[in-house]
Subunit: 343 residues, 2 copies
DNA sequence: CTGAAAGCGCTAACAC
DNA sequence: GTGTTAGCGCTTTCAG
């Protein structure tokens, strides 16, 4: 392990001079800089991140707090796309990404924040009365929530307008003539689920269709969850003729359930998903879905977090990423058989 | 920020005693432990990771070096499954995961290893004459390669037997009567691609079918890459009647290309994929694929890495994770229309 | 059993 | 311009 002292000794300067050269301080003569840099090169020196971090109180790393549900979340393409957006920005700015997978409990947060493991964090899920969010807010730690903050919590967010997106998707189904429209959601305490079900209900009401609790099912955020939820919806005495799934993965599970029960899509049953993952286009029938631009959401969140890190008393920011309904075959609007977004 | 000194002062002991209590040293009296722990609790103390790391020369974090191709890799479900395996083990052992996405170049490695950012790393790709691998080997830094090491490099690995897996998949197609079998690979310099094409060629030769360079196409590891590669294969004067894709995502691209050109699967064209991602089962037709157990691969790799971290002069280890051909509908063996593995 | 002292590798006043 | 000094928060000899 070659340290800054080794470099200093060999270059006949003090450690602080080396440190200044590393930071490209203007107060160092060109000659010294050159000499030190040669030694730096020759010794193949790389500063110890921990030591530097200890004194500057920074880590050049940002954390991602995996949401409730933990490991399964890795497998949601939605996460992957978001991460690729985050990673792009982090990278450009010289930040590494630390994944915290031990669940977003207060212990983890303490370890992360108080342990100064990262300079800021992303929160990937929010619940009503979320203790994690409260702790983050109270500690004034740089953080950005991907999603909407629950009531009473003040934190920077990047979000889709899920209420209006779900509204538009539901409206689309209504205009296609459906009267019995089901809603298939993920965990019912997540804000994202609440928002989407709200948009769904609003649309129904605006078109004089009374929301029916029988038609709202919530499950876990996996293909299997969609399958089971759909089974329950289809078991209903007055079954829905269309279903809005709050996630494409759920929609795929729903499609599998429908296929098993012998329903033909879209003639007997229409399905619309959420998130527009790659497979939506490839599936058969291709899945109509709400495109949420996760990559952009991730990069916007990363930029926002970096702002907060640079300027610690920045007010909470909020950004909304647009959504579009991408009409494909699963909803029955097949005369519009293209992948082009609906206006 | 409450430090160890604050705790010491309030508990009327020295900082070293607090440190020993934290480590649950047997040399501290029960009474002192209790008293210190109360203060620990009361002050909500959490040790500064950096400071601790600086002196112990550890970070309790393991790194993942994103492969060549970088960001797009996030979107490969294969990565997600592997990460969920890694994360599970890391978690249980109190390690965090740091993602290095700036590309597996020697600069990044230097930053990671010499900068002591993590205690060990996963390498996710290997090329012939890989400078990154050489550097890792030479630095004797704890590392596990997910894949096979290129010749001349000694590093611990966890891998599928890709040669034999590709052999079996190809053999399956041959037994179904195919004579013109194409190979659709990812980047041609990756060891994984080389191994799979080797297994493919071996099978052809063993059945007296001469490998034909015209039938081997390599592309990038994305759906779009599969699409383009397949277009090229089908443009061939003597087109293949079956194709082995070296990745499911490529296979999906291939399916899309086939559909666009009006080929019916599996009657006119058989396709077999690799990795058996979730969507393989859901696709229409469902995709026959080689199941590689990525989750297990990830957790095995994590366990191996932790071994190396604990015992720095452990010899390189090697572990092979089994594969199975999961026969579904895309290969035409539809009389076997189940998801059960072929023996 | 506990405390004092040294030091991990680096940066940042403060001198000169 | 550059060196000296102090110290980030913690662990770990070494004493006692």
């Amino acid at each position: 392990m070659t340290t800054i002292k080794d470099v200093a000794r060999m270059a006949n300067v003090s450690a602080s001079t080396v440190s200044r050269v590393l930071a490209d301080s203007p107060r160092i003569s060109a000659a010294t800089k050159r000499r030190v840099r040669e030694v730096l090169e020759h010794l193949d020196y790389h500063p110890n991140t921990l030591a530097r971090g200890l004194v500057t109180n920074t880590t050049s790393a940002i954390g991602v707090l995996m949401p409730y549900g933990g490991n399964e979340f890795f497998e949601n393409p939605f996460f992957a796309q978001m991460m690729s957006g985050v990673s792009e920005v982090a990278n450009e700015n010289g930040y590494d990404i630390v994944l915290f997978t031990s669940g977003p409990d207060t212990d983890t947060i303490d370890r992360v924040i108080r342990g100064r493991r990262v300079d800021g964090i992303f929160l990937l899920s929010s619940k009503q009365d979320d203790p994690v969010l409260k702790l983050v807010e109270q500690q004034k730690f740089p953080a950005v929530l991907l999603g909407r903050a629950p009531d009473g919590i003040s934190v920077s967010t990047v979000n889709n307008d899920n209420v209006s997106a779900a509204y538009k998707a539901t409206e689309h189904l209504i205009r296609l003539g459906h009267k019995r429209i089901g809603f298939l959601g993920g965990a019912s305490d997540l804000v994202v689920t609440l928002d989407r079900v709200t948009g769904y209900r609003n649309a129904l009401r605006d078109y004089q269709l009374e929301p029916d609790a029988q038609l709202e099912v919530s499950s876990f955020f996996l293909e299997q969850g969609g399958y089971l939820g759909m089974m329950r919806l289809l078991a209903s005495s007055d079954r829905p003729t269309a279903v809005l799934a709050s996630d494409d993965v759920l929609a795929f599970g729903a499609m599998r359930a429908s296929a098993e029960l012998g329903y033909h899509l879209p003639s007997e049953l229409a399905i619309v998903g959420f998130n527009d993952i790659r497979m939506a286009e490839i599936a058969n029938p291709s899945l109509t879905s709400v495109r949420v631009h996760m990559h952009e959401l991730g990069s916007a969140a990363a930029n926002m977090l970096l702002e907060h890190i640079k300027n610690s008393d920045l007010e909470p920011q909020h950004k909304t990423i647009r959504t579009e309904l991408v009409v494909r075959n699963s909803c029955g609007a097949s005369y519009l058989n293209t992948s082009s977004p609906l206006p």
